[in-house]
């Protein structure tokens, strides 16, 4: 056997043994099955959890865009099919409403003292989830176009509007603004951002009675309409994916975009050099002289199902604790998200999310009935943006649609 062959064989063996000897996660029995969304950061966590499989312990993952339509159904049975769901602050609500996730306090007391307190999500004094990354929408801009037009990166939506007018009047771009304004979830999210930026409250305090048909609601809609005037006329069909495509094509100079997507926007293979080298991020913008940014903060975290055996719950807890511990982070996944894990080193693409956190942005509302209002907003706002009806009419339609749905669900 030549030296060359020996070397190849040795490295092959090393590779095989690396995968055969699982990571030591502190358990050797139990069943772990994780359902969650599909994007790079969560895939990294899923892979790290799978490395915990050993002995009779199994670790499976089902990471898919359709996780929200699977997780409640898959955790309702007894025993539950999924022992854990990876969720965000909006989607944990459906799991809590259906009472399918368990408080983690006892598991933390016996196995999780080393989880940093900042990662714990507590509701009514009970830990319901452990967060591992943060996300927010913030400004993304083209440095070259702003310089050409003699503009500073905007810090308010009013500056964004005047900047857009200048870029258009100079003939640089006809539609200088972008935004995920697709009717439905995306548009409702933009309303939520802008309404919080105006300092609005969605409900009468402590109740499920909606209260958005007010001056702040009208101002929010007017601002969304003003911005949409500088967007590609097809804006009501553009979700985050299509808005990113517009950015890659170099058609957009400024937009409010998710922090988790900025990594792709700056990738050299995604667009022409003048686009990706000039793509820069800023903090979230404020509106109407307010101090609270017109954006929302999000976390992604993991939960443990209620209807599983103690052994499975322990295995799930330990596998995910390991998968979101500092040992997860390496050079290739460091930039995938704003990790809330010790040892994380921020990259320039993540500055927007950090700016959003430090500027005191409001977290997305974690209320049992807010999903219904989000849907009602998404179904109705387009009627105002297309000019079919007045702002007041649109807001009263939203309130009526929400009220009917909330009555059906037993919240009112």
């Amino acid at each position: 056997m030549t030296t060359m062959k020996k070397a190849v064989l040795a490295s092959a063996l090393a590779a095989a043994s690396a995968s055969a000897f699982a990571a030591d996660c502190g358990f050797s029995e139990g069943r772990v099955n994780i359902v969650g969304n599909e994007f790079p950061a969560i895939q990294s966590v899923g892979k790290a959890a799978q490395a915990c499989a050993n002995g009779s312990a199994t670790v499976e993952t089902n990471l898919t865009k359709d996780h929200q339509s699977l997780n409640v159904a898959g955790m309702t049975g007894n025993p539950a099919e999924y022992t854990s769901a990876i969720v965000a602050n909006s989607s944990i609500v459906a799991l809590m409403n259906n009472d399918v996730i368990r408080p983690l306090d006892d598991l933390i007391a016996s196995h999780g003292q080393d989880i940093p307190k900042k990662q714990l999500i507590t509701i009514d004094g009970k830990v319901m989830a452990v967060a591992f990354m943060a996300n927010a929408q913030h400004l993304v801009y083209r440095q070259d176009i702003l310089e050409q037009a003699g503009l500073e990166p905007p810090t308010t939506y009013e500056e964004m509007l005047s900047g857009a007018e200048k870029i258009r009047s100079m003939g640089i771009l006809e539609y200088p603004l972008g935004g995920a304004y697709a009717a439905g979830w995306n548009l409702a999210q933009e309303f939520t951002n802008m309404y919080l930026g105006h300092g609005g409250d969605f409900y009468e305090s402590g109740t499920a009675n909606v209260a958005i048909n007010n001056d702040k609601g009208v101002a929010t809609l007017e601002m969304l309409k003003a911005l949409s005037g500088y967007m590609n006329p097809d804006f009501l069909t553009h979700d985050s994916n299509l808005t990113s495509d517009e950015w890659y094509a170099g058609n957009v100079a400024m937009m409010n975009m998710w922090g988790s997507r900025t990594g792709n926007l700056m990738k050299p293979e995604s667009s022409a050099p003048e686009v990706h080298t000039n793509t820069k991020v800023g903090g979230p913008m404020t509106v109407a002289g307010g101090n609270t940014p017109a954006s929302t903060l999000w976390w992604d975290g993991w939960t443990v199902a209620k209807n599983v055996s103690d052994a499975d719950a322990k295995a799930t807890f330990l596998a995910l604790k390991k998968a979101t511990s500092p040992s997860l982070l390496n050079d290739s996944n460091m930039g995938e998200a704003v990790w809330m894990i010790d040892g994380y080193k921020p990259a320039p693409v993540n500055e927007g999310v950090f700016a959003a956190i430090s500027a005191g942005t409001t977290p997305y509302p974690m209320l049992p009935y807010h999903g219904l209002l989000h849907t009602a907003l998404g179904d109705n706002i387009a009627d105002f943006l297309t000019g079919k009806e007045s702002a007041q009419q649109t807001l009263s339609d939203v309130e009526a649609a929400y009220t009917a749905a909330a009555k059906e669900k037993g919240f009112l």
Partner: protein, 332 residues
């Protein structure tokens, strides 16, 4: 007899019964309590469902609370109250129509009915002429032309619509082509409601005329050749032959196709999703989809819309069904 009756019971009757039951029950009153919730972003006062208290209600009535027709008549469905108000306040039919179509169910119904009423006959007529054309081609060309005519049906509806969605984009091939053709650089098919309706309807015709074509093409092979021969001898023109011999021969096929296509078109769904057209057009099916697709699923609402869809299909099909039943009776 028994196996088929059993199959009908399991696959047709049972699901419909379960949907009807679902639509008259709603989830329990949720007991809400104010709590403090904390994350890395700080602590805020928020509300949550009191599971202990709600569980007692749930155990007492596992099906949920019985609400009768309340879901059917609420604003998100038949909206009886709102319609009554609109009827008494509206000064003209136009104003009433505007108010009614501002309600989500009637908005979805208006698009669904328009779509069904236009796409069904257009697809059948165009399919008929394609079949006539292909049938008259020399034999060697028929194979390839049948294949190409079937393409819209071979392509998965969701994918076919998505491809068109890109092509009609204001920066897409067809979008820019139309802008040049009409000399209007701001033209966008996706930005205005009427244009979006036209686009969806054109897509519907494009994707469903191959079905009519292939059925008619098969039917044309069974047209009695001696009737055609004798009509020719009597000096009938080509149009006279088609009008007096071919079309009457194909009437039963047309009834069959109208049945299938009305049912299909009334359930229009894929193009609305693929074209991201929710801002401009909703159908009954997309309405059900958005009830089930939100972060909080509205099962009772979706069930009520499903029952209303079934009733709608039955009403639309009743003329065709009555006719088929009569024909069947006559033949016996």
């Amino acid at each position: 007899m028994l196996p088929s009756a059993l199959a009908m019971l399991v696959f047709i009757a049972a699901p419909i019964v379960s949907v009807v039951i679902q639509s008259v029950y709603a989830p329990h009153e949720q007991v809400i309590k104010v709590v403090e919730s904390c994350s890395i972003f700080g602590c805020t006062e928020s509300t949550t469902v009191d599971q202990e208290a709600t569980r007692a209600l749930r155990d007492a009535e596992p099906l949920g609370r019985f609400v009768g027709n309340q879901i059917y008549t609420d604003r998100n469905h038949l909206a009886t109250e709102e319609i009554a108000v609109a009827l008494s306040e509206a000064e003209s039919f136009g104003e009433f129509f505007d108010k009614a179509t501002n309600l989500p169910f009637y908005n979805a119904l208006s698009f669904t009915l328009t779509y069904t009423a236009v796409v069904t006959p257009m697809a059948i007529i165009i399919g008929f002429f394609i079949a006539l054309g292909v049938n008259n081609l020399p034999k060697i060309l028929r194979g390839p032309s049948i294949f190409f005519s079937l393409l819209p049906m071979i392509v998965t509806p969701l994918v076919g619509a998505l491809i068109l969605f890109w092509m009609i984009d204001s920066r897409g091939v067809l979008g820019v082509g139309l802008q040049n053709l009409l000399d209007d650089p701001t033209l966008s098919l996706k930005a205005s409601t009427p244009m979006m309706w036209v686009t969806l309807i054109v897509y519907g015709i494009w994707s469903s005329c191959p079905f009519a074509f292939v059925v008619y093409y098969a039917g044309l092979q069974t047209v009695p050749q001696d009737s055609i021969e004798s009509a020719k001898l009597d000096g009938a023109s080509r149009w006279q032959q088609i009008w007096h011999i071919v079309i009457p021969h194909l009437v039963p096929l047309t009834t069959f196709m109208a049945l299938i296509k009305i049912m299909d078109n009334f359930r229009v769904f894929e193009p609305i999703v693929s074209f991201n057209a929710q801002a401009h057009a909703q159908s009954l099916s997309s309405f059900i989809y958005s009830d089930l697709g939100g972060e909080t699923q509205l099962l009772s609402s979706a069930a009520a819309t499903s029952v209303l869809t079934i009733i709608g299909v039955v009403i639309l099909l009743s003329p065709v069904l009555v006719r088929t039943y009569r024909d069947y009776g006559n033949k016996r």
